[in-house]
């Protein structure tokens, strides 16, 4: 039970800690939004959790999947805004967007974990292991997030943080493909299988899945969404930069 709890926390909590760490590097005045984002995220997550039965019943039992898709779209749009607009991170809006992003990512990742904890706690099943697992899992996630902040923040590696943020969100966003497939809205076949090289069941695979959206057997739709979601902001950024350059030159 202990190892299972730790694995579950790492899988569900690492994306939250990782994204918070990147946003701390990305936004100079991070204290303002961080606490607001985390507290609001936990409150909204508890609200969602309390109504998870009702939400799930919507749209022929696909309500929770649709909610996840909506949250992934919002999270992606926020990441694109930070990636495309260099100046956004200095504005007041940055804090608000970061807080909204944290709320989305907490609901997306923590609701299943909450379900696991509440169910087993209610039954008084191995509460000692659950508590120990929570401490260990949170400890590992905090260490990884702190390491990332300590590596990037003092060096002002904003460009690295911006790309890390985009790749992380694209990885999360591409899971829309599987949500659409498992709800029978779209059919798509596996393109390749790289399980023999890096399996998503082992630690490296799980870590890569969280950080860059690695999948050992992705479907065509997954690859399509991943590539479009990754390329579009880069093209948009190039276009905006060239427009700005053109404007500056015409001003001269």
């Amino acid at each position: 039970m202990l190892s299972n709890t730790v694995v579950l926390i790492l899988k569900d909590a690492l994306p939250i800690f990782w994204s918070i760490a990147i946003l701390i590097v990305l936004i100079p005045k991070w204290q303002h939004w961080l606490y607001f984002g985390i507290v609001s995220g936990i409150i909204v997550c508890l609200l969602v959790f309390n109504n998870i039965g009702i939400i799930s019943q919507y749209a022929d039992g696909l309500g929770f999947e649709f909610l996840k898709i909506l949250l992934l779209i919002i999270a992606y749009l926020i990441a694109v805004a930070f990636f495309v607009n260099n100046q956004l991170r200095y504005s007041l809006l940055a804090g608000l967007l970061a807080a909204l992003f944290i709320i989305c990512i907490i609901i997306l990742n923590a609701s299943n974990l909450l379900l696991f904890y509440v169910s087993f706690w209610r039954l008084n099943e191995q509460t000692h292991s659950l508590f120990l697992g929570l401490i260990l899992g949170i400890g590992i996630c905090t260490s990884i997030a702190t390491l990332l902040v300590l590596l990037l923040k003092p060096l002002q590696k904003v460009k690295v943080a911006r790309y890390l943020f985009l790749v992380f969100v694209v990885g999360q966003f591409s899971h829309i493909a599987y949500l659409l497939q498992q709800t029978d809205l779209v059919t798509s076949q596996q393109i390749w299988n790289s399980k023999q090289f890096i399996s998503d069941e082992n630690e490296i695979g799980q870590f890569l899945a969280t950080l860059i959206g690695y999948e050992s057997s992705p479907t065509g739709l997954y690859i399509l969404i991943y590539l479009i979601a990754l390329i579009t902001p880069n093209l948009l950024r190039l276009f905006i930069n060239s427009m700005r350059k053109g404007k500056k030159e015409s001003m001269k």
Binding site: N4, N112, F116, D184, V186, T187, Q189
Partner: protein, 126 residues
């Protein structure tokens, strides 16, 4: 970038996009259904056979007092089945092979397999 190289790159990109788009389809064909029961953190039946290159709906009925999260790295599926309730997922079309899934909250006991067999084998088994 030379004109020839750009043309080659364009060709590769076109072929790749064709391959990706070929794997996509939006369909509403009649779909086979299979029911799996979760009881005492075990799947019944623990193994199911489905035909290759066909989409199948799997209904999970959870008879336990705890929820279970169905997870499969092989099938790329993840779905929570609440306590004493039911939930469904669609799998396929898949190549022939053995695909593992498990209950994320009880990974040591709740283990199941989806065996994807050729259409002939599937008909014989029926």
């Amino acid at each position: 970038m030379s004109k020839v190289r750009r043309h080659e790159l364009k060709n590769i990109m076109q072929k790749f996009m064709m391959l990706v788009l070929l794997t996509l389809s939006f369909n509403a064909i009649a779909i086979d259904e299979i029911t799996i029961t979760i009881r005492n953190h075990l799947f019944y039946p623990p193994e199911i056979d489905i035909p290759e290159h066909k989409k199948v709906k799997i209904n999970f009925i959870n008879q336990d007092d705890t929820p279970e999260e169905i997870d499969s790295f092989d099938l790329n599926r993840e779905k929570v089945v609440f306590a004493n309730s039911r939930s469904s997922i669609f799998v396929g079309p898949l190549e022939a092979g053995r695909y593992r899934y498990f209950g994320e909250y009880h990974p040591n006991t709740a283990i199941g397999f989806v065996n994807v067999v050729s259409t002939e084998e599937h008909q014989d088994a029926k």
